[in-house]
């Protein structure tokens, strides 16, 4: 925890109202200002106590505080450093350790995830039982998306018009396994907009989960592998459609800063969120009307961590006949936040309920975001509230539908499969 970064905080409290845990519990130590104060205590010699670790663990890493802070406090850096310290210095209970070990042994690895799909689908029925054994297991089961048909993407997809760019695509572990249709839509949109898309076949995890949980060494390993993969693919721009992956990839140079060779290689690659990239590129493909009302949800790792808020709205708003609606309290996290709904199921649930209520209040037909984790989370909350199935889609799928002239009924697959 860098004391210089801590000192930047002037204790003004401007970050409090967008901090999801402060919104929930209304106490200082579960606010960004309070957490920075805890870090300061640690820097000044207070050991990591159970209480301290608890409040730091409860941070969703949503980075709403970074957006809100007028003093430019790098809370993102601070919490990353802090998580690493907590991971090293704090002795967790055996229960906690077991659950963490399981999650980290599973999520960053595609093949293991694939193997999990069937048991997870089964475990949905067992949810009440799992919940009693361990809330995290319950949360995992509740969130498990329906097992989709596997979509295999070719290593290169050629542009469907005069080529304007060549880009690499990160397929993402969770995205690739549970939401392959999102990657397929992304590739089609890019190709229709004039890009050659290179999809390296054996991509590993980008390291986001490890980085956001304080597992530094592991994160670095994943980062180096990913960089090397895209270097080999011969692209200098990598398009990412999963918000969590994008935010950590943009941080590669920082993560690898102790290693000049690698940080230089990281800097040589341009990582771009899909919406950000498409707006930079400018539209050429024809947009067909898509008569549907859409509530757009800001995924924290996109809106706060990458500052990408306007671009997705611009892209969606430009689709003829699409009615774009804002969700109240859009800056506040839905509680999904990477592994958060696994480690802090109670808080995640409360935030999910809160978000679902506001999404439903828009009356929109379709919920759209750049992060399937979020939409899964919000869909689970509406289901819990007995409000039926929420139709959800990724920004890429909506664009794809418009570009290909599909009907809006083609969107929102959860409603079909989850029943």
């Amino acid at each position: 925890m860098d004391p210089e970064l801590i000192k930047d905080c002037v204790h003004c409290g401007f970050c409090l109202p967008t901090c999801p845990t402060y919104v929930l519990w209304g106490e200082e130590m579960d606010s960004p200002r309070g957490r920075i104060q805890l870090m300061d205590q640690h820097v000044h010699g207070t050991p990591v106590t159970d209480e301290m670790a608890g409040h730091l663990d409860a941070c969703l890493g949503c980075m709403a505080c970074v957006t809100a802070c007028p003093s430019g406090v790098r809370y993102d850096r601070l919490i990353e450093q802090t998580r690493a310290v907590v991971e090293q210095e704090h002795r967790r209970t055996p229960d906690e350790r077991a659950v963490r070990a399981m999650v980290f042994a599973l999520f960053p690895y595609r093949r293991r995830l694939r193997a999990m799909r069937l048991p997870m689908a089964m475990s949905k029925r067992l949810r009440p039982l799992l919940e009693r054994v361990n809330p995290t297991l319950g949360a995992m089961a509740e969130l498990a998306p329906p097992a989709p048909r596997h979509v295999r993407l070719p290593p290169v997809v050629r542009s469907r018009r005069r080529r304007r760019a060549t880009v690499g695509l990160l397929t993402g572990c969770v995205q690739g396994e549970f939401f392959p249709q999102v990657n397929a839509a992304t590739v089609r949109v890019l190709a229709l907009e004039g890009c050659d898309v290179v999809i390296p076949p054996r991509q590993g995890c980008c390291g986001a989960l490890s980085l956001h949980s304080g597992r530094e060494a592991e994160a670095k390993r994943f980062a180096r592998r990913t960089i090397a993969t895209f270097e080999r693919a011969g692209v200098d721009t990598v398009v990412v459609n999963a918000a969590g992956c994008g935010s950590s990839m943009k941080d590669y140079a920082e993560v690898l800063k102790d290693d000049p060779g690698w940080s230089g290689r990281a800097e040589a690659l341009r990582f771009r969120d899909l919406a950000e990239f498409l707006v930079e590129l400018g539209p050429v493909a024809e947009r067909h009307p898509l008569p549907v009302s859409v509530a757009y949800h800001d995924a924290c790792h996109l809106a706060h961590a990458q500052g990408v808020r306007a671009q997705p709205r611009q892209l969606l708003g430009a689709i003829p006949e699409l009615d774009l609606r804002e969700i109240a309290e859009s800056a506040i996290c839905c509680g999904s936040a990477g592994t958060y709904n696994l480690f802090q199921p109670q808080a995640a649930r409360e935030l999910g309920d809160r978000k679902a209520e506001r999404v439903l209040a828009t009356g929109a037909d379709l919920l759209v975001s750049a992060n399937p984790g979020c939409t899964m989370q919000i869909a689970a909350a509406t289901r819990r509230a007995g409000k039926g199935e929420l139709r959800v889609a990724h920004t890429a799928e909506v664009l794809d539908a418009s570009l290909r002239g599909l009907s809006p009924q083609s969107l929102g697959w959860v409603s079909e499969v989850a029943r």
């Binding site: 930047d8 204790h11 003004c12 409290g13 401007f14 209304g26 200082e28 205590q41």
Partner: protein, 483 residues
């Protein structure tokens, strides 16, 4: 067992476990408000959820003779919510329900922890808002606003908190729940409570007046090469009989900070910018706008921008509203001062502040509500350099002296708190202070409600001001000092 420990044991009868904080690491997160220069770890923190719980906690404090301090969102800038190490900190951050919105009567009833902005947001769609708008409005609590009689950029035309609060339910320092209203006959106790900085009890329910959103709003940004031009424009605008909703000024250093923080894109080369906002019926706004624009040009504005949309207006305000916190970008630490001078004395006082900068070798950024002469000099320093904090304190004390010398005041809207209590004798005579003390004693005879704030040294109630006999129990217990 200490008195506080005995009291703490009984808190469990009033509040659930999660609402009483005793763990030292947790307690420390409450050790200061927005003025980080003063710190003290509270003895115990409670997070009540109802007036009854607050009343019960206060009754315990009364029974044990333990001091208590109220805290809202902890954004105060005078150390008003600085805790007592031997006392209870009562935090209202879980009392944030809007209880009633009554549009026909233009009223809203809210709990004290509701943020200032949340009230406006709740009624915006119906064409109303809550007028006082401190720059901290997104987070400061309405209870804190009441305690500090907070103002904001638009107070020039619309007045301070005291003009917009029509009723309060409060817990007295003896733990009774009492209601005050602007309709009460007799003494204006509501007026006395507003601005009392937590020394007369804790507000538990607040009835605010809602204002109609103005028909038209025009915001203009005028850039000057130096602060003098801006000052002349302000005098000329007010002199022309125009009362803008707001006139705000920032100097070069404040602009630099805001630019670094929020990239507000103010005109390059500006030594001062003036933000003028006019609101009201269309015809009136148009007419006044023409006059203001002409005045700005005549007084030397080299660039004038007019906000054409709500987004552009927000962009102009963003620089101004983030200015305090933004100073964090250009300095490790800073003190926000809050002095008032008659508008006509502005140029002279600003020149004197300039000289102080040289004398102390310290930088001062100026942000102010120019319309009513409320200065917010930001005294920049590096808190890791030993002695710099004291140095900055001394410089900011001198700025307050300047304000007093020019017939102004030591606080416009941030309150006295702990920070400025020692300047009170420079503004008021012993008799004045004694008289205020009598009011305090009428509400809080034991001196338990936020002691050590506002007044230079805890004065003791139950004594005739001026003449003191014997040792007061508070002195005996070490809670107050006799002077």
């Amino acid at each position: 067992m200490s008195t506080l420990q005995r009291l703490t044991e009984r808190l469990g009868d009033i509040l659930d476990e999660g609402s009483v904080i005793t763990d030292p690491v947790r307690l420390r997160t409450y050790d200061c408000d927005g003025l980080t220069y003063h710190r003290a770890t509270p003895g115990v923190v409670v997070l009540p959820e109802s007036a009854e719980q607050i009343a019960a906690v206060v009754r315990l404090c009364d029974e044990y003779g333990v001091p208590f301090v109220a805290r809202g969102s902890g954004t105060g800038l005078s150390g008003g919510a600085l805790p007592r190490t031997d006392g209870v900190l009562i935090v209202t951050s879980r009392m944030r329900r809007i209880l009633e919105i009554d549009i026909p009567n233009r009223r809203a009833v809210v709990e004290p922890g509701v943020t200032n902005l949340a009230i406006s947001e709740a009624v915006r769609e119906r064409g109303y808002y809550y007028a006082p708008d401190p720059s901290s409005q997104q987070i400061c609590s309405i209870g804190g606003n009441v305690a500090e009689n907070s103002g904001g950029a638009h107070c020039l035309k619309y007045g301070f908190t005291v003009n917009h609060v029509v009723g309060i339910e409060l817990v007295t320092p003896q733990g009774e729940i009492v209601e005050l209203s602007d309709r009460d006959p007799g003494y204006d106790l509501l007026g006395a409570f507003i601005g009392s900085e937590g020394t007369l009890g804790i507000a538990t329910k607040i009835t605010v007046r809602l204002s109609r959103t103005p028909e038209a709003v025009t915001t203009l940004l005028a850039a000057f090469t130096g602060i003098e031009g801006g000052g002349r424009a302000v005098s000329a605008i007010i002199g022309a009989g125009i009362v803008p909703a707001a006139i705000e000024m920032m100097d070069a250093l404040a602009i630099e900070a805001a630019e670094a923080a929020v990239h507000c894109g103010y005109p390059e080369g500006a030594g001062a910018v003036l933000v003028v906002e006019l609101d009201g019926p269309h015809a009136e706004v148009d007419h006044q706008f023409a006059a203001v624009e002409r005045i700005c040009r005549e007084t030397g504005a080299f660039e004038i921008r007019v906000a054409a949309s709500a987004e552009e207006r927000a962009a102009i305000w963003k620089g101004r509203k983030s200015a305090f916190a933004a100073v964090g970008r250009i300095s490790p630490a800073y003190i926000v001062q809050d002095g008032v001078v008659p508008r006509t004395a502005l140029p002279e006082v600003l020149a004197a502040i300039d000289r102080l900068q040289e004398e102390f070798g310290i930088r001062v950024a100026n942000v102010f509500h120019a319309g009513d002469g409320n200065l917010h000099p930001l005294v920049l320093f590096d808190d890791t350099v030993p002695g710099q904090g004291e140095h900055a304190e001394a410089a900011s004390g001198r700025i307050l002296d300047l304000c007093i010398e020019h017939g102004g005041s030591i606080t416009g809207e941030h309150g006295v708190g702990v920070d400025k209590s020692r300047y009170m004798p420079r503004m008021f005579s012993e008799e004045d202070l004694d008289t205020m003390q009598l009011v305090r004693c009428a509400f809080d005879p034991k001196g338990l409600s936020n002691p050590g704030k506002v007044f230079p040294t805890p004065r003791l109630c139950g004594e005739v001001p001026g003449v003191r006999k014997g040792v007061h129990p508070l002195v005996e217990s070490g809670m107050a000092e006799q002077f």
